[in-house]
């Protein structure tokens, strides 16, 4: 029976995927809603196969009108042929995203057919300690940005005894938690969202493996409110997982019990910082906590807590299934395995590129991404989100890996690259970095709370040409105070985009005063 595959991914929907699905269904076609293949510039990308599990051909940028009376055919101008053979996909190494865009994210059978639970079954057959050591051996590092070895973190939590919630009396239940940080707030990143929308069972499987490894009984996914589709999908997936015995008191008949709940963010970038996230999950203001104590020892509600990013946790099932050695063999130096790069901004072929660490920024921006969407020259690429530096067009030969990128003054962050063409005003981008910090600062520490506002003002003075050189000196001093003095990365890293703009694109600062900057945002 022939089947149409139409993505239900939020990005695909944002350009009309739902309307296409409705049309096809209205015409009596069988439609399976999938995640997105990650070739976002092609969305809506509609696929067809003569069998649910057969090879697929696809059409890109499909419109509802195109499906109005006649169905798309291979002779249509937007026919892509076999989707798996598309160069963009064929050149990737998909571990985490191996099922995303292919399966119906809420069909557990689909998940199992495509290798789901292989990792968990393997893990449950091992001792928890062996699972921890496998993750250590894989070299998996935290995908949230800091790049801390996940296995070492798990080892710490595994070594703790479960603890009752802080402040509870004698006899209260004792816990360890697995917290997944799905507060993907960096501009230019969307891999967590796509994974949760496209293969939520993968995340669940990863969390169960982590729970087994460290002896946790409860899991929480802290998911940003800006991702309603991911929330809905994950909620349904959790429900199904419980029904299928993949969660609950006796997972896969092993006797091991673990369950997961979702907590939804409420519009705070800082809550992507792990301790602020814990505060937010505990229902408080998302203020950064001081460390120590480490969350691994005293985390959520005072209990030992594993905190990993979505991509970190979603890497775990395939590591367990395919073996940590295979994973560790991939990558660049101490950056093992694959990274899900996200190409965004002014880019011709924006989307997901999962490949081993070590690919250069240039390869991502030009070979995969095809340069700018506008067709104008690339001028700057911001890596690592709003707190990441801007690289100039001639700095893109750097390998995308934690250490290599840091040495080059870049930052891997959550693996996003935001491309700008030559119309960008880098003084304005620097000003925005400060403005963003001012908007999102939790307000706890002085350098961030006051410094960001002063940063905006200083940059506006530079833009206005008031005492520009003195103000540049002041700006550098301020950046030092923020970088060295801030409590967390929000204030500490904001100088990165600012100083990279000032240092690399000084011409935009020097000609300041010749034009007035219009403030964006309010």
């Amino acid at each position: 029976m022939s089947v149409w595959f139409v993505p239900k991914d939020a990005a695909a929907k944002s350009v009309g995927a739902d309307q296409i699905a409705e049309r096809l269904i209205a015409q009596g076609e069988v439609v399976i809603r999938t995640g997105s293949r990650g070739l976002l510039w092609l969305e809506p990308l509609v696929e067809w196969s003569d069998d649910r599990y057969g090879d697929r051909v696809g059409w890109c940028n499909v419109t509802a009108e195109q499906c109005l009376d006649v169905l798309p055919t291979s002779s249509d101008g937007n026919f892509l042929g076999a989707v798996d053979d598309l160069d963009y996909l064929a050149r990737q190494q998909r571990w985490i995203f191996e099922r995303v865009g292919i399966i119906d994210p809420l069909d557990g059978d689909d998940f199992l057919y495509r290798g789901g639970l292989a990792g968990l079954k393997r893990a449950l057959a091992m001792t928890p300690n062996d699972v921890v050591e496998a993750i250590v051996a894989s070299g998996l590092r935290g995908r949230g940005g800091a790049g801390f070895p996940a296995g070492i973190k798990w080892r710490t939590v595994a070594a703790q005894e479960p603890v009752a919630h802080a402040g509870s009396g004698a006899g209260a239940a004792k816990h360890k938690y697995i917290c997944v940080n799905a507060d993907e707030g960096d501009s230019g990143t969307f891999a967590d969202r796509m994974l949760m929308e496209g293969d939520p069972f993968c995340l669940i499987e990863g969390m169960v493996i982590a729970a087994w490894a460290v002896g946790a009984d409860l899991g929480i996914v802290y998911l940003r409110s800006e991702y309603p589709d991911a929330i809905a999908t994950l909620e349904q997936a959790l429900e199904q997982a419980r029904e299928r015995g993949w969660l609950g008191a006796n997972i896969l008949g092993s006797g091991f019990g673990f369950d997961i709940e979702i907590r939804i963010g409420a519009g705070s970038y800082v809550c992507g910082e792990e301790t602020a996230m814990l505060e937010s999950i505990e229902g408080r203001r998302g203020m950064v906590r001081v460390k120590p104590p480490l969350p691994a020892i005293k985390g959520l509600f005072g209990t030992p807590t594993v905190i990993n990013n979505v991509l970190t946790m979603a890497s775990v099932p395939s590591i367990m299934a395919r073996g940590p050695e295979a994973y560790a063999a991939l990558g660049h130096g101490r950056s093992c395995g694959t990274q899900v790069f996200q190409l965004a901004g002014n880019i011709a072929r924006g989307g997901i590129v999962e490949t081993a660490f070590g690919v250069t920024a240039r390869a991502l921006v030009h070979d995969f991404g095809g340069g700018t969407r506008s067709g104008r020259p690339v001028r700057a690429v911001q890596t690592g989100g709003p707190l990441g530096p801007y690289l100039a067009a001639d700095e893109l030969d750097v390998p995308m890996a934690y250490e290599a990128l840091a040495e080059a003054g870049g930052m891997l962050g959550h693996g996003g690259l935001v491309v700008f063409d030559d119309t960008v005003d880098m003084l304005e981008q620097a000003r925005f970095a400060m403005e963003f910090c001012a908007e999102e600062s939790c307000g706890k520490c002085t350098p961030c709370r006051i410094g960001a506002v002063r940063g905006v003002e200083v940059l506006e003075r530079i833009a206005a040409g008031d005492d520009a050189m003195q103000q540049q000196v002041l700006l550098r001093d301020l950046c030092e105070v923020m970088e060295m003095g801030s409590l967390c990365a929000m204030g500490g890293l904001t100088p990165k985009p600012v100083l990279s703009a000032l240092n690399t694109f000084s011409e935009d600062f020097d000609r300041a005063g010749s034009k007035l900057i219009v403030r964006s945002g309010g």
Binding site: S168, C445, T446, P447, C448, I450, R454, E457
Partner: protein
């Protein structure tokens, strides 16, 4: 006297001290130093003499890490960590000064000052501002940011009568918020908004006065700038000298530093070295001391021939002579025992001691009693019978180690707020709480605190409930057998065990009577008995019953049976109502006991006193207050010396008390104000406020604190001197050069005080008795190795219901209590702005009882008992069970004691304030 110590970084080590046996060696600026494990780099640096600049840190609060002034460099570590949140690690080498650190600190300060008014010279905190000091320390000279976004026009909130909040000066260090949370435990403050918009918010950005704030002053104390400041400082200026002394309100006995300008108090600041309060305070001690200089104060002696006459101001000599002559005449005509005296729990140990000495030695009678008669006399009786000492067993700090806390008939967050806060800290750490009280007090459920068990029993059923708990302990095998075998008297235990095991003492048997479910009693008993450390704290809800003494013994039994005596975290602890209840009792104010609780019939003891006092002493007990009042009505008791106590208002059955006073030939009142009792007096001797006293108070944990005069007596005479003068006029001179000499005499005559002297107290700050050769440093925890009486004595505790029964005519039970802002009969607090929080007493009534009677919230109602009738306004409340009504007694106009009865504790005659059968009806025509 020292000059006021303005902020000095060296005196605040920045983060709380840590208790740890393990030590860590670190090097700070080349100085090697050893600190307990867990100590912050900031604290270590301060100890090493290399203090790090700081603004958000103070040793009263957990490290927060927000100001970022305390950045340091640590060898082998990246970046510049904050000294406050970084813990010392073995071998760590820290640099507190470098050019980079200079730059960063100056940069942080530049940011602060870019949003701060530049008005240091005219600022009320000039010279007492940490921000100002730190700007100097980091050497900030210019602010380069120019005009920008700021909070300089943020408004000032002056709604609180005692302090103001000037938001324009706030540096958002959160010290106030953290103090409210961590120290006080009220959680009234938060930071609202975020980032640059962050602002301190009382409740929902309300005025302080309208918010959840309880005015404890912790936020004011914590504020490093002039943002939160005492209005007195704004009005008067910063103080110039300081004197350490002790608060004269409740039995917590907080240490304060009176900050003075000349002879004027500028402010009272809680002393962080205070043994009882460790730097915390409540709205009364911190702010409500203005009564001491209130216009109502009487500062000259007055006499009158008849109580109908108007008062006549006379000299001290005339007043003393008049009183002495009257007393002597009475004794000539009606006998030696026709006069007596009452000592006051508000006065110092020394003042109390000389009054009881005057009564025994000069009057020649044992007719001396103390106001503790009406509050905690059953404590003295009950604990003496069981443990051997008439005092609580623990220090306050002990509660930090309690795992189950049982609060019975006490409302510490209102009546003992500073200890209440400490209790809440422990509860927030996870101790289990059991509240046995008819009312849902604050502790039962308030932000971040919830009692595991609340037993809202019917007033008057305490003993039945405790017996039922004991029943559970002995029948469910929860007895601490080893402790009982080793420490307690086996025979009495066996009797007690057999008694409480009787079916009539089971929870099921008494549940209906007590108005509780049997399960709730069983659960509570298990929680207390199975805790590692179980501690009992109780108040007047235990003692002021006709079975008050039985109940005290019942609690002592339970503690012994479960092994909860003799170490930190356990014990049986009375929360004393007044500042010196413990001391007044210790000083021999009871008619049957000399100082140190030794019976007057004990020949050897009596001989000691007789030798030193140089008189022969009576061997029979004298009259208690109620006996004196009865005697007055009967006509054989005719003269009374009342020290600092308003029996006409505070004692039960007002009609009876005033009739008794009226019947006497000579009533001498020594007080600050012309109180209700003074209406019946012939001689008024002006007293001294605590700010004028020189002596000691003993708090509920047996801690002897120094009370130091911060100003000369307004009456020209110390109170003990007045007593000595009267004694001399009665033919028995008492010559003390100063009050220190009185304490020396007390120490010489009282074994538990043997090591106490003013000079010793000045050296050590405070000490808990017994303080003597075998315990030179005092005794925080009693009965550690053995009970004072030897082995613990179990007392069987039959439940005998009170005679005060509800009937169809009087169907409701009235019980009484206190509120935070007022104190006792309000003589002091009503003369302060505390009136604004509680301007009248209200009668709390359950909705169903109100509906039945057609009473709406705020209605004027009439409360009638068998003893009398009074009028109050009603408040519908869910905090009390149906069938019970509740009121406070802070306002004389409420006349609460007009309706309380003559019933009293069987053993001590402590009045049964807590149970009065009443009827409540709408009072027509009285509505406002």
């Amino acid at each position: 006297m020292n000059s006021v110590q303005q902020f000095d970084p060296a005196t605040d080590l920045g983060t709380p001290g840590v208790l740890s046996d393990a030590v860590v060696n670190v090097v700070i600026d080349g100085i090697e130093i050893q600190v307990p494990e867990g100590t912050s780099v900031m604290r270590a640096a301060a100890i090493a003499g290399a203090p790090v600049p700081k603004l958000c840190a103070t040793e009263q609060l957990e490290a927060f890490g927000s100001c970022r002034l305390c950045l340091v460099e640590i060898e082998g570590r990246r970046g510049t960590p904050a000294a406050c949140t970084t813990l010392c690690e073995p071998g760590m080498s820290v640099r507190t000064q470098s050019s980079q650190l200079d730059r960063l600190r100056k940069g942080v300060m530049e940011l602060y000052i870019s949003d701060h008014p530049l008005d240091c010279l005219t600022c009320s905190a000039n010279g007492d501002c940490e921000l100002q000091d730190m700007a100097g320390v980091v050497g900030l000279r210019t602010v380069r940011y120019g005009e920008g976004d700021n909070h300089l026009t943020a408004p000032t909130d002056a709604s609180n009568p005692y302090f103001s909040f000037d938001a324009s000066k706030c540096i958002v260090c959160s010290r106030c918020v953290r103090a409210c949370d961590e120290v006080q435990g009220t959680f009234a403050l938060t930071i609202a908004g975020r980032g640059f918009d962050s602002r301190v918010s009382p409740s929902e950005e309300q005025a302080f006065f309208d918010s959840e704030c309880v005015s404890c002053g912790a936020c004011v104390q914590a504020c490093p700038t002039a943002t939160l400041q005492e209005k007195r400082v704004i009005d008067v200026g910063v103080p110039t000298r300081q004197v350490k002394t002790t608060c004269a309100y409740c039995g917590v006995g907080c240490s304060f530093v009176a900050e003075m300008k000349g002879n004027e108090v500028v402010r009272m600041v809680p002393d962080k070295t205070g043994g009882a309060n460790a730097g915390h305070s409540c709205v009364k001690g911190r702010f409500a001391w203005g009564y001491a200089s209130h216009a109502d104060r009487i500062t000259e002696p007055m006499i009158r021939e008849h109580r109908e006459d108007s008062w006549q101001v006379v000299s001290w000599e005339q007043a003393i002579a008049f009183a002495a002559e009257r007393f002597q005449t009475i004794q000539r005509v009606h006998g030696t025992d026709a006069i007596g005296g009452i000592t006051s729990s508000r006065c110092t140990n020394e003042e109390v001691y000389v009054v009881q000495k005057m009564v025994r030695a000069a009057f020649g009678t044992n007719n001396v009693d103390t106001c503790a008669r009406v509050c905690h006399s059953p404590t003295g009786y009950g604990l003496k019978q069981t443990f051997g000492t008439s005092a609580g067993t623990q220090d306050f700090a002990s509660i930090d180690e309690a795992d189950a806390i049982m609060v019975i008939g006490a409302n510490p967050t209102d009546a003992h707020p500073v200890f209440g806060s400490r209790m809440k800290q422990r509860l927030r750490q996870g101790a289990d709480l059991i509240v046995i009280d008819p009312r849902a007090t604050d502790l039962v459920r308030s932000p971040h605190i919830v009692a595991k068990h609340h037993l809202p029993l019917m007033p008057g059923t305490n003993v039945a409930v405790l017996n039922a708990m004991a029943h559970v302990v002995v029948t469910e095998d929860l007895v601490a057998d080893a402790f009982v075998a080793e420490r307690c008297d086996a025979t009495s235990f066996a009797h007690w065990k057999a008694f409480v095991a009787l079916p009539e003492n089971s929870p099921e048997a008494i549940a209906e009577l007590a108005g509780l479910s049997p399960e709730s009693i069983r659960h509570a008993a298990r929680t207390y008995a199975s805790a590692h450390n179980g501690a009992i704290y109780y108040g007047l809800g235990v003692t002021e019953h006709s079975q008050g003494s039985t109940m005290v013994m019942a609690m002592a039994n339970l503690a012994m049976a479960t092994g909860n005596i003799g170490r930190r975290g356990v014990g049986v602890n009375p929360l004393r109502g007044q500042n010196n209840v413990q001391g007044a009792c210790d000083m021999g104010s009871f008619p049957h006991e000399f100082a140190g609780y030794r019976h007057v019939s004990d020949d050897s003891v009596r001989q000691q006193f007789a030798d030193i006092w140089g008189v022969s002493l009576r061997e029979d007990p004298g009259m208690r207050i109620p006996n004196m009042l009865d005697g007055a009505i009967a006509g054989h008791f005719r003269g009374l010396y009342v020290q600092g106590e308003d029996i006409a208002q505070s004692d039960p059955n007002t009609h009876h008390v005033t009739a008794a006073l009226q019947a006497m030939d000579c009533v001498v009142v020594q007080d600050l104000f012309l109180n209700e009792t003074a209406k019946y007096a012939h001689v008024f001797l002006p007293g001294t406020s605590f700010l004028e006293k020189d002596g000691t108070f003993t708090n509920a944990e047996r801690r002897i604190n120094r009370v130091r005069p911060v100003m000369p007596p307004r009456s020209g005479k110390a109170e003990w001197q007045v007593t000595c003068d009267l004694s001399a006029a009665m033919g028995y001179p008492m010559d003390y050069p100063n009050s220190a000499a009185i304490m020396d005499e007390i120490a010489a005559l009282t074994p538990t005080f043997a090591g106490v002297s003013f000079s010793y107290l000045d050296k050590v700050g405070s000490v808990q008795w017994p303080c003597n050769d075998s315990a030179p440093l005092g005794t925080p925890i009693m009965h550690e190795q053995r009970f004072v009486r030897g082995s613990g004595q179990f007392m069987t505790t039959p439940y005998v219901p009170t005679d005060e029964r509800t009937t169809r005519k009087y169907p409701l039970v009235l019980t009484t209590g206190r509120i935070l802002s007022q104190y006792n009969v309000g003589a002091q607090t009503r003369r302060t702005d505390n009136q604004r929080w509680h301007g009248e007493d209200l009668l709390d009534i359950h909705e169903s009882d109100a509906q039945l009677r057609g009473i709406a919230n705020g209605d004027w109602i009439e409360v009638a008992s068998r003893a009398g009738t009074t009028r109050l306004r009603a408040r519908i409340s869910s905090a009390i069970p149906a069938g019970v009504v509740y009121t406070t007694f802070h306002h004389p106009v409420s006349g609460t004691n007009v309706i309380t009865t003559d019933n009293s504790d069987w053993a001590t005659n402590c009045p049964e304030y807590k149970v009065t059968a009443v009827e409540v009806r709408p009072a027509g025509g009285m509505s406002p």
